[in-house]
C-alpha cells in the first residue's frame, strides 16, 4: 500500500486523538453511580462546614420496613423535606430514634453519615423526577438565591 506523507500524518494524528480520548474517558470524573435511592441531605451541612449526610435506603430497608421510619418516626417522603438538625437527632427525633447507641451506633460517628462529597446538593439518587424536571432538588425552605 502506498501511503503519502500527508496521509501518514493524518494516521498518526487520528491515532493520537484516539489515545488521548481514551485517556480522557478514564480521567474525567464519571457521573455518580451511587445506589438507587441513596439520599444526600445538604440542608445545613455545607453551611456548618460538614460534609453532607448520605442516607442509604437499601441498607436500612434490609433491617427495617418503610413503616418504621415513614409512619412511626414521621419521616416525610421527600429528600431534604424533614429539616433534620443534630439538635433534633440528639433529642431522639428522626435518625436519633435509632442512632442512639442502643438500637444502632450513636452520633459520635460523625463521618458515617456525613460522608458525602462537599457541595453535593440535596438529592435522591436515581430519581425519575429529578431526571425529568430539575437538575437537583431544592430544599423546602431555602430560597435558591441563598446559595452564594
Amino acid at each position: 500500500m502506498i501511503v503519502t506523507n500527508r496521509e501518514e500524518g493524518s494516521m498518526y494524528k487520528s491515532a493520537l486523538i484516539g489515545i488521548l480520548s481514551m485517556i480522557a474517558v478514564l480521567l474525567v470524573p464519571q457521573m455518580a453511580k451511587a445506589e438507587y435511592a441513596d439520599v444526600v441531605i445538604n440542608n445545613y451541612a455545607d453551611a456548618a462546614g460538614m460534609r453532607p449526610a448520605v442516607f442509604p435506603h437499601w441498607y436500612h430497608r434490609i433491617r427495617f420496613r418503610c413503616k418504621v421510619c415513614h409512619a412511626d418516626l414521621g419521616f416525610k417522603f421527600k429528600a431534604g423535606g424533614n429539616q433534620i438538625t443534630m439538635a433534633k437527632i440528639i433529642d431522639g427525633q428522626f435518625c436519633g430514634a435509632c442512632h442512639n447507641g442502643e438500637i444502632s451506633w450513636s452520633v459520635e460517628n460523625c463521618g458515617m453519615c456525613h460522608s458525602g462529597v462537599p457541595g453535593t446538593p440535596t438529592l435522591i439518587h436515581g430519581s425519575t423526577v429529578q431526571r425529568l424536571v430539575a437538575p437537583t432538588y431544592k430544599s423546602m425552605d431555602a430560597p435558591s438565591d441563598q446559595k452564594k
Binding site: M1, V3, E7, M11, S14, A15, I17, G18, I19, S21, M22, I23, L26, P29, Q30, A32, K33, A34, E35, Y36, A37, D38, V40, R51, V54, H57, W58, Y59, R61, I62, R63, F64, R65, C66, K67, V68, H70, A71, D72, L73, F77, A79, C98, I103, N109, G111, M112, H114, S115, G116, V117, T120, I124, H125, G126, S127, T128, V129, L132, V133
Partner: protein, 222 residues
C-alpha cells in the same frame, strides 16, 4: 495502580489499532481516486445514542459511587451494597434487587417495629383493578406487598383517598413524583420500559378496542 496503568496502556493500544485499521481501510477504498477531497468539518454532535446514558457500574461501593467522599475515612467503613445483596433475587432496575420477592421467600426479615423484632406487619390482601383508557394492560394494585412494608397511614388518606373512583392517576403525575410516584421512581421499583408490566399486568378483554378520539369521530372522510 500497576494494573490500572496496564489497563490504560492496553486500551490505548487497542484504540491505536482500531484507528489505524480504520484509516487503512479508508485509504484502500480511496485508492482509485487521484486525491481525496479535503474533508469538510462535520458536527461532533452526530454521536450514536446521544441521550441514552447507561450506568457503567452497578451497585458501586461507597468510595467509588460519586456521592460519597473518598477522602472521608468513614466512607471506607461503610458496607458495599454488593456484599449485602448476595443471594437476593434480582431485577433489571433500581437496586437490581427484587425486594418483595426477597421478603416473601424469607430471605429478609426487616423489623416492622423499631424495638420488637417479633411484631408482625398488618397485611391486607386486596387487589384493586384500575381500568386504563389506553391500550396498555389494566393496572392491578396489590395491597399485600405494600402493606408488608408500609402502614395504611403512609398512603391513606393523604396520597390516595380510600374510596372507589376518587383518585385520578395518570403516568404524567406518577413520573412527576405524585401518587404512585411518591415512592416508585425514587425508592421502590422505578418506572422504566422494563417495569411497565409490574403494574400494568391485567390484559385487556379479547373484544377490547381502543376508544376513538373525538377528532376521528368528527373526521368527514372517515
Amino acid at each position: 495502580m500497576r494494573t490500572l496503568k496496564l489497563m490504560i496502556s492496553s486500551l490505548a493500544l487497542l484504540s491505536l489499532l482500531l484507528t489505524t485499521t480504520a484509516v487503512m481501510s479508508a485509504d484502500e477504498k480511496a485508492e482509485p481516486a487521484a486525491k481525496p477531497a479535503p474533508k469538510s468539518k462535520v458536527s461532533a454532535a452526530n454521536v450514536f445514542n446521544r441521550l441514552l446514558k447507561k450506568e457503567k457500574v452497578k451497585n458501586a461501593p461507597p468510595a467509588q459511587d460519586g456521592i460519597h467522599d473518598p477522602a472521608n475515612d468513614n466512607t471506607h467503613v461503610l458496607q458495599p451494597p454488593m456484599i449485602a445483596y448476595e443471594g437476593l433475587p434480582t431485577t433489571e432496575f433500581g437496586n437490581y434487587v427484587d425486594w418483595v420477592k426477597a421478603l416473601n421467600d424469607g430471605l429478609l426479615n426487616p423489623r416492622y417495629d423499631r424495638f420488637d423484632p417479633t411484631v408482625e406487619p398488618l397485611v391486607m390482601d386486596l387487589d384493586i383493578v384500575r381500568e386504563v383508557k389506553a391500550s396498555v394492560p389494566d393496572v392491578v394494585f396489590p395491597h399485600k406487598p405494600h402493606t408488608q412494608w408500609l402502614h395504611c397511614s403512609n398512603c391513606h388518606p393523604k396520597i390516595f383517598i380510600p374510596q372507589r373512583n376518587a383518585n385520578v392517576i395518570n403516568m404524567s403525575a406518577i413520573l412527576l413524583g405524585q401518587k404512585c410516584g411518591v415512592c416508585h421512581g425514587k425508592v421502590s421499583f422505578p418506572i422504566t420500559t422494563k417495569s411497565c408490566k409490574m403494574c400494568h399486568s391485567k390484559p385487556k378483554p379479547d373484544d377490547w378496542k381502543p376508544p376513538k378520539s373525538e377528532a376521528t369521530l368528527q373526521n368527514p372522510w372517515r
